[in-house]
Symmetry: C2
Subunit: 349 residues, 2 copies
């Protein structure tokens, strides 16, 4: 089959690899109907050292079950499924607590230990299929692009935005500031709106994206960054935002979050931190009793909650996709997102 591999910074290729096959009785093989490129895929795209073997890419996909192992009970051949970005058994204490990203037996796509490939491919072997995959009744591979795009967001970005808002403690009447106008930031806006936030300030500078943010529920847009952006949000919110959702992952975004959060407030991070140390002492978090929370979203825990409104069109998270490429053109998708010509690109095998 054809699959997307990264061989080093800027070097994405679609190559021939062996077809995935069942290995364990709990496995499934899923034929990919739609995949996509994630903002976090751009981190290795910027910095990965060259490798002759390459690394299989992609952690977001929806597809149709092609084959299942003898112990798989919840999905069968022909089912349309959403694959969350984490593999999870669904039975360990962390899965039962809704923290599937910490599953004791799980892992991720392109995981050496699990032997999984990436989702930007024609097909994927899914270990722990019962815990991992979510069947979507009434949908098949012939569904419209818009419907498939909406379902695809449930594999990562929508659930990640939802996780940001949920961990941030957004509730009816909240004032929320979202840092970052990428797909996750925009879906954090949508999630905050769904959870009842009254005021949603979106910090971003790309007009097309912030316009979509307004459509999703942002009440204010702040294009300034750094000290200027902090001053603007503090002014808009009368002294700071009680909840800040950080959907970028770079240190300046963290510092911006610290600058705009209100005393007693919460910073919820879902942008994968590209730093390890950061200010947390008296002058940043401690003195004003700021809570820092968030992490990789256990999107598996949220799919059932978010699915109905996606299916009936009440919300349209799929609008974060603004381009589509064929699988062999995946390198073009990386370039378009890297150069900010595209917000988020669908890959169609």
């Amino acid at each position: 089959m054809r699959a997307t591999y990264l061989f080093g910074a800027g070097d994405v290729r679609v190559i021939d690899v062996p077809d995935p096959a069942l290995r364990q009785p709990g496995d499934a093989v899923v034929r990919v109907v739609r995949a996509c490129v994630c903002g976090s895929d751009l981190h290795p795209y910027h910095s990965m050292p060259s490798t002759s073997d390459g690394v299989s890419m992609g952690h977001e996909f929806v597809g149709v079950v092609e084959e299942v192992g003898a112990e798989v009970a919840t999905v069968r051949r022909g089912d349309f499924v959403i694959a969350p970005f984490a593999v999870s058994d669904g039975t360990c204490e962390f899965c039962r607590a809704g923290l599937q990203t910490s599953c004791l037996h799980g892992g991720f796509w392109n995981d050496q230990q699990l032997g999984t490939g990436g989702g930007q491919a024609e097909a994927v072997r899914v270990p722990l299929a019962d815990g991992t995959l979510v069947k979507v009744p009434g949908v098949d591979a012939s569904a419209g692009d818009q419907r498939l795009a909406g379902l695809l967001t449930l594999s990562d970005v929508y659930g990640t935005g939802w996780h940001a808002a949920l961990r941030g403690g957004v509730r009816p009447g909240s004032t929320v500031t979202v840092i970052g106008d990428g797909a996750v930031g925009l879906l954090a806006v949508l999630s905050a709106k769904q959870l009842g936030a009254q005021r949603i300030v979106l910090m971003g500078r790309h007009r097309a994206r912030t316009d979509l943010g307004r459509e999703f529920g942002a009440t204010d847009v702040v294009a300034e960054r750094g000290e200027e952006g902090i001053a603007r949000v503090r002014q808009l919110t009368g002294g700071g935002s009680e909840i800040v959702l950080e959907a970028v992952g770079h240190l300046p975004a963290y510092e911006q979050a610290v600058g705009i959060v209100r005393p007693g407030g919460t910073i919820s991070r879902v942008g994968v931190p590209q730093y390890e140390d950061a200010p947390v002492g008296f002058g940043s978090l401690f003195g004003a009793n700021i809570t820092l929370t968030g992490g990789p979203a256990p999107v598996r825990a949220y799919i059932e909650r978010l699915l109905p409104a996606v299916l009936d069109g009440t919300v349209q998270p799929g609008k974060v996709f603004d381009q589509t490429v064929a699988l062999d053109d995946t390198p073009k998708a990386y370039a378009a997102m890297d150069e900010r010509r595209a917000l988020k690109v669908v890959v169609r095998p």
Copy 2:
């Protein structure tokens, strides 16, 4: 009057200063009945550069109201009062939200802007008396040492331990690990017990203190520190503690907290951080969805909740005091605590 001043590292003196007097209509003057020395007083005692003026010390005291300004409505001459370690107006949005340490018009003892002195003195001027002081009916300066000691903990250490537990989300059945066997750590144990924690691991190495910790509710004591201590707690808790209360403030204690917290768990800090930057990235907090919370305790918010059990003797937080000195001997109290000959010392003017 006599008052305790710090003139530089290790240089505590009790000197003559002018008597405090009313300045604003919302002020009170309180005659101190009992004060004490705090673990956090030891930080400047270790490191403060020499100064010829000296710095007024002490932020914990109980006493009797001697005089009130024309606008003071809730306390009057002769009332026995508890003074929390923060001055607060009781009316701003943060006070109403129970975050009096972020009061828009408040501050602390020995605060240049507020013009307040410290509590290790014969008397103190209390600005914003209505918001700050809590009257204790039925108690006067002739109360027994044990009763006064219990009330004195409500000015800081008991409320601070309570804040740690509350922010940490302790609830019936919780597993909690407390880092630090100082007065705050021990009262964090007591608070966790009161909030229903089932398992309370106390990390500390001073036998007399950890024995008191067991009396307050600790189910296990871990004397090891660093990697060894982390391994021990992870073993005791089957993979990590869902809640960690950090009552020290030094970076190794933070790192210890990160090492022992369970995925999805919470680190609640009340030890004043003696660091600004610390690990918060994928390998420390983010990857396992750890929440970091805490800060200076709004003890004013907790006094009414904690007072009844102190008054009726159901809990005896005053047991954290193991020595008493006269005001002129306050320097000896600092030395005794610094050399760990005393856990916490009462100062009796």
